[in-house]
């Protein structure tokens, strides 16, 4: 079996080499024949060597006997004027710990060819695009999280006149390494076809007299549908599910307002417990900005808006849309241990943020000015009222309409709250300090699906100080603390629940980083779960890191323990298990 596997992947690799060299030769020939042909690309390899570490539950069994994990990709793009084409090769040999098993394999994950002359554009192959804020359609990839929901098919973009853009997309989504043609499908590979159109009209660009107006308006609308097969024996699953959205962006001087409303017809799925409720979402933002001051208020309502190209898909698989979480995205490791992710089945969210710079030359601003940030965000559940079904009152019963929900009603159930204040100050030519205080409420049971896990109520703080030793060398200190008082009160657990308390309780973290610009950086740090309610979980997570950067190449060697937690990149988060070992990252672009 193993031998067969290798030979198959070898064949795939050889095939890819052929493709790449063909493309390479093509570019060489093209360079001599056609002025303007260019090839560029990038690659990255992340390798991890695992060491068993019983203290944090890493045993040969828990890592599946895996000694090594390797994720890599290579990407090439060819452009010539209005034409471009590209391919991305991916290798998971096998995937690193914490990545989905389905990724295991090697192959050409993505390719496209595209022509765009400014009026009309065509793309065939794997498509990434977004309509409005993405609430009915967004395809994207986040390689570092092992996520890619690209659409293999075709896209047309038409710009009939200045300020008007009409787009159409058609295709089937990537599902790890599953084949794209229906005739090759095994049962688990099945997913539907996605079709969508979007139109946007920018009044200022299309109406000459409004070109330089202080008032700015853009209108847009989208329509997306999926065609899936009904494989259910007990329920009648709709084979065509459509969703639509309308949006408005307005700006007047320093004020800006934007809003988008999305609607989806009944779409029973594994995510919503197979109810036939309609989906609705609203996202609105209002902001004011002037030099040195920015204020933004956002509100959001989501009701049953999970939209996937297969009704049985779970987690983040086969998402057609993206409902953005609007809370503050943290930059340091302890506050980002508890990161909120959108609850597609229902939430009411609001966030308010102020960015202010105390001007230079004032008593509080000092020589360089002082930058302040305040953020308040909160997410509650929506209110669901039970409905009558078969002469009984039911709530969220599969096969029914599920519930009714008043649009403006907010449940008392709080999923998440974050109140934080940050100060960022350059004290002198050589010293710079950033400090933040965070008060956080995090409903672990809902967000991470840990049944009965107590709510996280934490006070978190960090201080980050940089000292410039001279023109080339600098040293940075980071000290973080997280205190979770309530988890200790009257704390009793039985042996079976113990696992729920991994990483809970109080933490301290420290880091020292020494850098020699422009190439080298060296850091050592420790995270210590000193106040875990379970004494045997009071572990240290030592780690060290050596980075070399030259131009667009980065080589990073790190070693140590990584605590279990959520890793977030670009607004999408993934839970990674604890790991222990050595890892190496090489990335470059050319």
């Amino acid at each position: 079996m193993f031998v067969v596997y290798i030979s198959q992947s070898m064949r795939k690799i050889l095939l890819s080499i052929l493709c790449l060299s063909a493309l390479g030769c093509l570019s060489v020939r093209a360079q001599s024949l056609l002025e303007g042909s260019q090839v560029n690309g990038s690659f990255q390899i992340d390798g991890q060597y695992y060491m068993p570490d019983a203290a944090i539950d890493i045993t040969p069994e828990s890592i599946n006997g895996k000694k090594l994990g390797l994720n890599g990709f290579g990407k090439l793009q060819y452009t010539n004027g209005n034409f471009s084409a590209g391919l991305r090769f991916e290798a998971f040999l096998p995937q690193m710990n914490g990545f989905r098993d389905e990724l295991n394999g090697v192959g050409l994950a993505n390719f496209y060819a595209s022509y765009d002359d400014g009026t009309i554009g065509f793309t065939v192959g794997d498509i990434y695009d977004q309509f409005g804020s993405g609430m009915v359609f967004r395809t994207y990839e986040e390689w570092s999280l092992g996520m890619d929901n690209s659409l293999r098919g075709a896209r047309v973009v038409f710009r009939p006149t200045q300020g008007v853009t009409i787009k159409g997309v058609y295709g089937r989504q990537r599902y790890f390494w599953a084949p794209y043609l229906e005739r090759d499908f095994k049962d688990s590979d099945y997913r539907g076809i996605v079709r969508g159109v979007d139109a946007e009209w920018d009044l200022n660009q299309s109406i000459p007299s409004m070109n330089d107006a202080k008032f700015h308006a853009t209108l847009g609308g989208s329509f997306v549908s999926k065609k899936q097969a009904d494989k259910s024996t007990s329920l009648n699953i709709p084979e065509n599910v459509c969703a639509s959205a309308a949006r408005v962006n307005l700006a007047y001087g320093r004020f800006a307002f934007s809003t988008e409303y999305a609607y989806k017809i009944n779409d029973p799925s594994a995510i919503n417990n197979f109810i036939y409720h309609e989906g609705r979402a609203l996202l609105s933002s209002l902001s004011y900005s002037q030099k040195g001051l920015g204020v933004v208020l956002q509100v959001k309502r989501v009701d049953n808006m999970s939209f996937k190209s297969m009704y049985t898909a779970k987690e983040n698989d086969l998402d057609i849309n993206f409902i953005p979480p609007i809370n503050y995205t943290h930059t340091h490791s302890l506050p980002s241990m508890y990161t909120y992710s959108t609850q597609p089945n229902g939430e009411m969210a609001a966030q308010f943020q102020v960015n202010y710079t105390i001007p230079k030359g004032t008593a509080l601003g000092g020589k360089y000015g002082t930058k302040l940030t305040f953020n308040y965000s909160q997410v509650n559940d929506i209110v669901r009222d039970s409905i009558e079904f078969n002469h009984a009152m039911t709530l969220n019963e599969s096969g029914t309409l599920g519930y009714t929900s008043k649009f403006f009603a907010v449940s008392d159930k709080v999923f998440f709250r974050d109140i934080n204040f940050e100060i960022d100050k350059k004290i002198s030519k050589d010293w710079h300090i950033t400090a933040q205080y965070i008060n956080m409420l995090y409903d672990m049971e809902t967000i991470e699906g840990h049944a009965n896990a107590p709510m996280v109520k934490a006070n978190i703080g960090f201080v980050d100080v940089t000292y410039k030793i001279n023109k080339k060398q600098s040293i940075r200190f980071e000290l973080q603390g997280l205190w979770e008082n309530e988890v200790h009160k009257g704390f009793v657990y039985d042996e079976s629940e113990k696992k729920d308390y991994q990483k809970r309780g109080d933490w301290l973290a420290g880091l020292i980083e020494y850098s020699i610009t422009p190439h080298w950086s060296f850091s050592i740090g420790d995270k210590w779960n000193y106040g875990n309610p379970v004494p045997e979980y009071r572990d240290h997570y030592f780690s060290g890191n050596l980075t070399y950067i030259k131009d667009a190449t980065r080589i990073m060697l790190s070693g140590g323990r990584q605590s279990e937690g959520v890793v977030c990149v670009g607004g999408v988060c993934r839970t990674v298990p604890a790991s222990s070992g050595v890892s190496l990252t090489v990335s470059t672009s050319f």
């Binding site: 390899i45 920015g294 990335s587």
Partner: protein
Amino acid sequence: MKKLTTLLLMTLLVAGLHAQTKTDLPNVTLKDLNGKDVNISKLSNNGKPIVITFWATWCAPCIKEHNALSDVYDDWQDETGVKIYSVSIDDSRSTAKVKPFVEGKGWDFNVLLDVNSELKRAMNVSNPPHTFLIDGKGKIVYQHTGYLEGAEEELYEEIQKLVK
């Protein structure tokens, strides 16, 4: 395993060797903070250099880099006429926050919104911060990933090479 990795690496390196010519800016259109369309391939600064730097509101080293560039931007402009385009790769979770964030920090760069990472992909950016220097003819002549304290000085040396 080793063979596979080596093969993958070599293939890409060989492919990379074909790409020694200076690259043009890609044909991608983004919106600026006032909602105006900006076509990246048509960016121009009257023959003077342009810096394009990728960042996000959640990226601490990016904010450091922007603060450092903001401190020296006036001097750089006086001396070399360089123009800085700052491309935010924040997705729709933070799109509405970018303008108040930039203004609140007091940054003077031309900020563009790359909400679905279209330019990020076209310019092969893996992780922010990532900075490009473009010469007066619109060719990418230098790029740098990551930000270490004082790295803006190296960038400035490259800018000065272009205006001499």
